[in-house]
Symmetry: C2
Amino acid sequence: MAKIDPISGFPEWTPSQRIVEQKIIREVERKFELHGYVPVETRSIEPLNVLLSKGDDKEIYVLKRLHAGDDEDEDEGGVGLHFDLTVPFARYAVEFQHLLSFPFKRYQIQKVWRGERKQEGRYREFYQCDIDIIGQGSLPLFFDAELPCLLSEILVELPIPAVVIKINNRKVLEGFYRGLGIEDIESVLRVVDKLPKIGPEAVKAQLEEQMLLSESAANSCLSLGRITSRDNSFVDAVNALGVSHPLLEEGLKELSDVVVACNLDAQGDFVVDLSIARGLSYYTGTVYEGYMVGHEHIGAICSGGRYDNLATGGRQKMPGVGVSIGITRILGYLFGRNVLRPAKSTPVEVLVALLDEPSRAKASHAAQLLRKRSISADVYHSPHKFGKQIKAAVKRNIRYVLFIEGSYQVKDTVTGDQYEVDINQWCPEISTPSFNVLMNEE
Amino acid sequence: MAKIDPISGFPEWTPSQRIVEQKIIREVERKFELHGYVPVETRSIEPLNVLLSKGDDKEIYVLKRLHAGDDEDEDEGGVGLHFDLTVPFARYAVEFQHLLSFPFKRYQIQKVWRGERKQEGRYREFYQCDIDIIGQGSLPLFFDAELPCLLSEILVELPIPAVVIKINNRKVLEGFYRGLGIEDIESVLRVVDKLPKIGPEAVKAQLEEQMLLSESAANSCLSLGRITSRDNSFVDAVNALGVSHPLLEEGLKELSDVVVACNLDAQGDFVVDLSIARGLSYYTGTVYEGYMVGHEHIGAICSGGRYDNLATGGRQKMPGVGVSIGITRILGYLFGRNVLRPAKSTPVEVLVALLDEPSRAKASHAAQLLRKRSISADVYHSPHKFGKQIKAAVKRNIRYVLFIEGSYQVKDTVTGDQYEVDINQWCPEISTPSFNVLMNEE
């Protein structure tokens, strides 16, 4: 092979890590389906003009055929790999709207690609697990609460640290800034968004020097960003800052309704945090970011929000709201810190020992009998000494070895016991877990 | 949205089609795991030099960051999207060999990308479901029989037409050609491979005029390609052509062993077909192609073979053998011909009717009780008239509607019955199937 080095930003798991990832994805899918979300997959590419209008153009990977132009026209304008699943889904919902029932709830678990700068926890190819709801004409606000509740119901059962979900509403920020007389909302948002990275002094300096805000306006922006609460007491805290604007009022009402509805759900830890803004420009209302408690430095591990203008189907608006779980970022971090330890390198539960070549058919038959009862089995590939075959089973974390000599005998490599079994009845007593979690040890 | 047209070659399924695809992929995964294949995923990209040395360079999609060079060096030599899963897996097996147990059996289900010319049944982005076994130093021939047997065991249970698996061995072809004194084996293989497309006359003409074979040699090549058998009688038929070469003998022996072993397995239809060559250059022994009977014109729906030189890990050879199921090609064709009719547009089994806004919490609670017992449930989004809610359930193929008014009542929209239920006990009697198969109707 010409080159076998890893490619930075394009992670690959070992088989035992992949078994954990797969188990988690399957559990997430099961939960999404139980809650009525419909599976959708979109193509990996979108026209460049769609991607460029919705994202940060630095992040986009463009696709070219190696010998483009040889035998046919290329797609005009070019195509790129999608950088998230929200933009493709909004396009899909418009394209397939005649076939869908609205409000349409879908889940989508696919890889996305971003040409990110290299840093810990940032990948260039990674999985996102998304759920979104898109309406036709309108979309009730209670969906803005349903999503974080479902998210926390799912996250609490995953083998990961506790997650706190921070909620804000873009209308609160935009309304507040407008109430202060600020016009370049986007730029101010971007500066305030740097608060956790560069600190209040630097943010204040940038607001005054670059955005030309008065000291009092800059202070108000900072004060707003510091407000957090677990109930709707944040409304009074905002009002105490003495700024008013119709959009601010609308945002406070929405955010208050969402946090009250979330708190009816006892499972999650929801915090109103007025510093949350979200980078992507298409959000228009509620926004979410989830952090693993004690591991906030790796950034949000799930995020999303309300987008009222991303999809438009002819005359009708198609407002949506969605959240995304960054499964690759979570696993990369937990694997890397040895918090989540994969424990299983194969799905095989039983290794059938091979006595000699002539008995291979008998061994295969025994394996098939187990498989018919949904027990994963493999026949050892060569008639090596039984001691060697048992060692191979142990090395692959296969607990049981089946011997066929007249009768069927199972060896439990953990207890060392060996006993006769009825091949049509016997089941492994204990399945090998696919991982161990060591939350407190780092 | 700027552009909502489909992009040719990049198929997207409707939700009900995706439900069928997902069901099939999950069943294939389950079978692979029962047989001891370990899940692996590789990154979507490989270095261009790796891709170019193993594939047809016209097919490769190259990746570029939109603003490459702005802030860091690009990977030297460039990268492209993988065009199959065999080349990436061979690289993975070398890279991770210190962690793997050999012979290493893996399955891999991912999308691949090829810049193919547009034609029916050809896609530019599609799923492949691959199983491969890679050895260290050597790999016993019985794996060459295990793969088509497992393949047919899986295919026979899928909702698709019967599949015949055609088997050949590259050594038979190469040995035969060498016995005829031919030196440019690759070119002759490529000409003979056109037999089903351009017919024997044209192939013969090309062999004589372009390859400069004698008429008798060209006739021998054609005669070889016409040999088929369901047992090892092909050996006599080849020997009757009067060509001999050590490599031919080796190939005949291997092919004979494989077909005899396959025929011990009663489930599949296996045919030795000496016209099968496979396009990719890395195959060195056994090759397979599977066709849906009566639908051969769409081409092979599964294929694979033995590759002794694709992966090399330091001093050791790492021979492999694998097969791939082209799930997108199969489904695109069957959906398009209306043979496989998706029947389910949502995972939801029970729609909980919403009486009025104040009772939403009660409705959500009932849905959660069902979900706890693994029954997918959704609450209707708005307190519309019950008649409208029932119609919405029928439109989404949801058979059961749950009403909460004092007691719990279930309406079966298929029979029209409505009855009181214990919400903690009741289960849907019949789950909605995800598809109907109409094999005889086209």
